[in-house]
């Protein structure tokens, strides 16, 4: 196993401006962008967080360590980014506290970019959360973490196909060894600044009667809130009878 920090290929390439990077720890005031970090438990999300911010949050090999939100920041090319580490969750559809914290931030905190950390070894399982997040936000980056383990398990992922299917940029990392972090930062900044425009995947395989109901409802929502990005997701939640979303709709917090 490699233990030394491997210089990533991109650290020398034209895109990444290493001098422009400054890790800010918890001192992220007057930031230009808010970046949310979401993902399943046990995907090394906190390790990615630490690698980006230079902080040392505890990262237990145990699902559900980060119960409260942790915040940190970094500066890249004169722009300040505030990073919010959300609790690791399997989904955003249930009602546990962790999921509420994560979902509320994505929905009401309106991050400029959402970085979704996924375990490359268990992509299918992780996509459950990824696809849900892509219904909420359209500015996201998939961070395919634990690539070192995937390599050991002989798992090969075609990142270009994945990025095309998901409609968002995909960056492979091994956050433990700081591999891929420069590319991740570069991609975050490009999405934040609008250089990369995402066309997120929308959930397709729902049964026809539900799809019909969702279409009907989201049309009404779009009529009421023109230009809303996640009308489909709100429709999903309304159909589930989520009282929090109903409340938010009434108070206008959603727009």
């Amino acid at each position: 196993m490699q233990t030394k920090v491997v210089k990533s290929a991109c650290e020398t390439c034209a895109h990444f401006n290493a001098e422009g990077l400054k890790k800010l720890g918890i001192h992220a005031e007057n930031f230009d962008f808010v970046v949310a970090l979401a993902g399943n438990p046990n995907t090394g999300k906190s390790t990615v967080f630490n690698a980006l911010t230079g902080l040392r949050q505890h990262t237990g090999n145990w699902p559900g360590k980060t119960v409260t939100r942790a915040e940190g920041g970094f500066q890249y090319n004169e722009q300040k980014y505030k990073l919010v580490d959300l609790p690791g969750t399997y989904s955003l559809l249930s009602t546990s506290t962790d999921e509420e914290v994560a979902r509320d931030f994505l929905l009401f905190g309106r991050p400029d970019v959402t970085v979704i950390v996924a375990d490359a070894n268990r992509l299918e399982r992780n996509l459950n959360l990824v696809l849900q997040i892509l219904e909420i936000t359209d500015k996201a980056v998939l961070c395919l973490n634990l690539m070192d383990e995937a390599k050991r398990n002989s798992i090969v992922i075609d990142q270009r196909v994945l990025a095309k299917d998901l409609g968002i940029p995909v960056v492979a990392t091994s956050a433990r060894y700081k591999e891929g972090i420069p590319e991740l930062i570069q991609t975050i900044s490009e999405v934040a600044n609008g250089t990369i425009v995402c066309k997120p995947h929308r959930i397709k395989n729902v049964s026809p009667n539900i799809e019909k109901a969702v279409k009907k409802l989201s049309k009404e929502i779009e009529k009421e809130f023109p230009g809303i990005a996640n009308s489909r997701w709100i429709a999903f939640r309304l159909l589930e009878g989520d009282s929090q979303i109903i409340e938010a709709l009434k108070t206008g917090e959603l727009v």
Partner: protein
């Protein structure tokens, strides 16, 4: 402290302990009984009478004061007093001997039923109380919730239309949906239907149904239907019910051609080194625990096998979608699977 004696100290201690036990033991403690007696004031009696009248009228039976005394667990005198008061307040009237609800009384009764059924829904969806307790708890709660509280509860629950037994919940404005479907004994052999309602009275029969693994929402297929017994398959199990019990089940026949899987097994029956595919989750698992299972990847079509056996017998760890997840036996028994022919 010279006259102290450990035996008398112990006797006093156990005396107090026994007294506390008698006072506060669950449900039969004197304190709870007293509290219940104290609380069964006029309002409770009136509301219970209204509810009974509503149910009797719905089933087309006539009610007089004597029937009420038989059905309700209150003193004779108090019931008579309550009825007197109710007729003064225009909630009920006498049609010869029979007691009937006025329009106002009808509305009031629906309000009580709405609270009762909403509260059962709440207990089923948002708490961990066992289903045996839902009814009694709702019975107590229905007299407590105010109009506004009820509406708030309803919207928190997403304005449900049916309670966990499949009974319709009256709306704010007193509208009430119909239970769709027919009584199970009227279903011909080989028809497929979905269970929509389980009647919770009389209690003797309801308890029998509860003891079986029969759940609202699950599909069933009738395999035998005659005067002595009704046999049907549901979620991989065979049930044999007497017609009188079966008639407490309301089912909605399904016209469309649905595939009802044969040879369904339960995940709890999976052996080491066997492979299986998940068919679904039994309707018995509901609310938060059902959602959790789904989120963890226990969805239709997932391949599954045992990853680890437990030194204490349970839980086992199952390998599903690349991750090892431990489930207890009672959870695993709610996951319906189809074993694969070949292990791969």
């Amino acid at each position: 402290m010279n006259d102290y004696n450990p035996i008398s100290a112990l006797i006093i201690f156990f005396g107090i302990a026994i007294l506390l036990f008698l006072l506060f033991r669950p449900t039969k403690g004197w304190f709870w009984l007293l509290q219940k007696n104290f609380k069964s004031n006029e309002k409770v009696i009136i509301e219970d009478i209204l509810k009974q009248l509503y149910h009797f009228e719905n089933s087309g039976n006539k009610v007089d004061t004597r029937t009420l005394v038989e059905v309700l667990n209150f003193k004779n005198k108090r019931i008579v007093e309550a009825i007197k008061k109710m007729s003064i307040n225009d909630l009920v009237y006498f049609d010869k001997d029979a007691l009937k609800l006025t329009e106002e009384g009808h509305e009031y009764a629906l309000r009580i039923i709405r609270v009762h059924r909403l509260w059962e829904r709440y207990l089923a969806d948002k708490t961990g109380f066992h289903k045996n307790e839902w009814h009694d708890r709702a019975e107590r709660m229905e007299h407590k919730l105010s109009h506004d509280e009820t509406n708030k509860l309803a919207s928190q629950l997403g304005n449900p239309k049916f309670d966990p037994h499949g009974d319709p919940i009256p709306t704010k404005t007193g509208k009430i949906a119909d239970i769709e479907g027919v009584e199970l004994p009227r279903l011909p052999v080989n028809s497929i239907a979905r269970i929509t309602h389980i009647e919770d009275e009389p209690e003797v029969i309801y308890k029998q149904i509860l003891a079986e693994n029969i759940h609202i929402g699950s599909l069933l297929k009738v395999v035998e239907n005659n005067n002595t017994r009704i046999v049907f398959h549901s979620e991989g199990e065979e049930f044999v019910l007497a017609p009188i019990v079966a008639s407490n089940l309301t089912v909605l026949p399904i016209e469309k051609e649905v595939v009802i899987e044969e040879n369904i097994a339960r995940l709890s029956g999976l052996q080491e080194n066997e492979m299986a595919e998940i068919i679904g989750i039994s309707k018995e698992s509901r609310g938060e625990s059902r959602r959790r299972l789904l989120d963890l990847g226990f969805v239709k079509g997932s391949k599954i096998k045992i990853d680890l056996l437990n030194p204490l017998g349970e839980p086992h760890a199952y390998l599903v979608k690349g991750t090892s997840i431990a489930l207890r036996k009672d959870q695993a028994s709610k996951i319906l699977i189809k074993k694969s022919e070949h292990a791969d």
